[in-house]
Symmetry: none
Subunit: 223 residues, 4 copies
Amino acid sequence: MTAARSRSAATHQALMDAALRVFVQRGFARATTREIAGAAGVAEGTIYRHFADKHALFREVFFSAMAGMGEELRRLPERAGNGTVRGNLEYLFGLLGTLQERTAPLMASMSADPELAGSFAAHVADDALEGFELSAPAAPVAAYISAEQKLGRIRADVDAGEAAAVVVALPFARGAERALGARFPARGSSPEPQGFPAPGAAALDILARGLAPPPDGIPGGKL
Amino acid sequence: MTAARSRSAATHQALMDAALRVFVQRGFARATTREIAGAAGVAEGTIYRHFADKHALFREVFFSAMAGMGEELRRLPERAGNGTVRGNLEYLFGLLGTLQERTAPLMASMSADPELAGSFAAHVADDALEGFELSAPAAPVAAYISAEQKLGRIRADVDAGEAAAVVVALPFARGAERALGARFPARGSSPEPQGFPAPGAAALDILARGLAPPPDGIPGGKL
Amino acid sequence: MTAARSRSAATHQALMDAALRVFVQRGFARATTREIAGAAGVAEGTIYRHFADKHALFREVFFSAMAGMGEELRRLPERAGNGTVRGNLEYLFGLLGTLQERTAPLMASMSADPELAGSFAAHVADDALEGFELSAPAAPVAAYISAEQKLGRIRADVDAGEAAAVVVALPFARGAERALGARFPARGSSPEPQGFPAPGAAALDILARGLAPPPDGIPGGKL
Amino acid sequence: MTAARSRSAATHQALMDAALRVFVQRGFARATTREIAGAAGVAEGTIYRHFADKHALFREVFFSAMAGMGEELRRLPERAGNGTVRGNLEYLFGLLGTLQERTAPLMASMSADPELAGSFAAHVADDALEGFELSAPAAPVAAYISAEQKLGRIRADVDAGEAAAVVVALPFARGAERALGARFPARGSSPEPQGFPAPGAAALDILARGLAPPPDGIPGGKL
DNA sequence: GATGAATGAGTATTCATTCAT
DNA sequence: TATGAATGAATACTCATTCAT
């Protein structure tokens, strides 16, 4: 029975891995159950012993792709006061970059397919979400910014929520563009994935400066 | 003959309008030629008198959706030195926001479907692109920033290209998230399209401050 | 009016020519009215001013392809007694060869498409057949053989009808095979149209000998 | 597993049988996958579990129709010297007649449809041809004639290849004409399949005489 | 007479899903 | 559990034919 279970679990995992590969490569709509089963080395019918349907398979793959990230994100506010703000933003960018890298191609399938998104939304509660809210990696970021504001390391006169949105937008845009760029065979020019450059030192500088409190005695100044 | 031509042109436009609606509502993959024809009030076969295939229809719809935007974007550098930097960024956000609003749902279909993206990339040269480069709304923005740097209105020690990427990321992320949010029936809570709030005053402040030159005599300071 | 008529007649002929080309190249089933109209340099709808439908166009093309041949064939019996039997057979082979060459590809379409054949059979009486019966180029040949038998130049103990069938079969088979061979890209070997070699001297010899009356005083002999 | 396999094999065979019927009755171009599936008593999609596409189905049907014939034909030269030449020709006519009867309607579809013929030619090497060359049932016949020539039972001064072409032409023409005749609803007259009569005793006599060596001491004589 | 835009029934093919083994 | 043959509804696309101009 343990053997049976582990065999089943292995099949399950093989299916998830194969599905991720195929979803990323072809997109959900063009990913066929036949190809997924083939890539996993099982029969087509086997998919339906492990997942209710193609949508369910996608959901499970998606959740697995962002597993663990929620936990790290929720711990972000604890970093307030430690190191430099810029350093913490850098750490956050790394976190969000990884998340984007993992989920951007899958996300694209969802935003391209309302039916899929609908089935996803409908089942979000049923599956284990581990506290990660889809549209809100911004929430823990806002909490972090708020905490830094109380410590005087981020200027007090910006709305923490909006600031969080700005911060989160950067790696999001980068990931999305990179995912899109990967779809284009890149005619002639660069074989490298085009799109926005990774948010590097300059991007961090701009954001950090934009958030930094004004030098003592000097107000924000005109813009 | 004129009547015939105008009849044909009317059908063409009806098809484009209907296709845009259906592509946005269902996504390219689930948009059927039958539904598009039905929405346009013509027979299915009529589609193929006006467009080589579904991909060609998509391309034309996409180009039409971003018509004119390229021109306005390319004129951005002319604004350097006029008004305030913040004001110009606000104008740019409006421009990019409109562009995103129009193209985001179509863009999603492309990033979700490599075959579609491939056919798009393959035909980009053939269709009238009006100078608008797909992955580079950032280029004219970089030119604008560069010009402002020469005028001393943006600090000289940031890379114009990276700064442009940061600036462009904001409306992009907002548009993409909004498009994704629209896919979710929003269980219970807000009927409003969720996602990042529009880049508002706070976002502009942060960016403008991050780009602003240091007060006289004071270097960039530690971050 | 004469101008109008001749303009119309020119269009009619252009259509016939174009249709013949396209029917031969693509076969009736794959020949589209669009391609035929294009090849004739007229609009698609124009076809229907000159022909009731695609079947009618085919019929007219077919009849035109074998125009005149009937007359020559019917005069064959007049050659009995003139020249040599072998020489007359050679002449006949030339005649039938030409006929085959012209009609074989069209014939193939008919034998491949019962509906087309049916519409053809149904309209045979309505169109001008000029005395040419489809399945009976054998009839005048049989008459010729009969006449030669009476003159003692062909042995009397063969049935004229069956002998005619044998004679007619040769160019028929050659033409059919040549038409079929033309369909095959001829992998590697000869770029020439394969198939049976043209009925040449040897074939004529065999037939002529087979039909020749036995030498005086010697019966047919055992076979 | 055995059961599954036999079930699959039965479906495969049912599909082949049904396809043969429908191809013969309607011709390849007008044979719809729907009708074939219906005739086989399976769903339309099932066709594509057994055959790559309609062309592949046609090819397999065609090969199956001429299965075994190649073997018998290749053994023809072994008959040289046995029985009478006329008897051997009669046997050959039977063989070729059967082959024609089976393949003529399918052959017609190929000669009427270059695309089909092309796909056929392109895949001939991939499928098992069992040594049967499409355009050359004449080859083994030529070998037989050659062998008889060495034995003095067929006159030495005819080219074996051309003689073979003549011999083969007879059943070919008869089969082709019969197939064509079957397409015509036979207006009024004979309900019997029209066309050339079967190559009967007379035809055999003519050929046998044409090939027979001259009586001792008498050369071929004038023709 | 000629046009060519529009039609819409028809076609081959795909693919998620089921179910007997 | 796993299989894979079978399903059948759905889909993009074709093409002979019509008809208003």
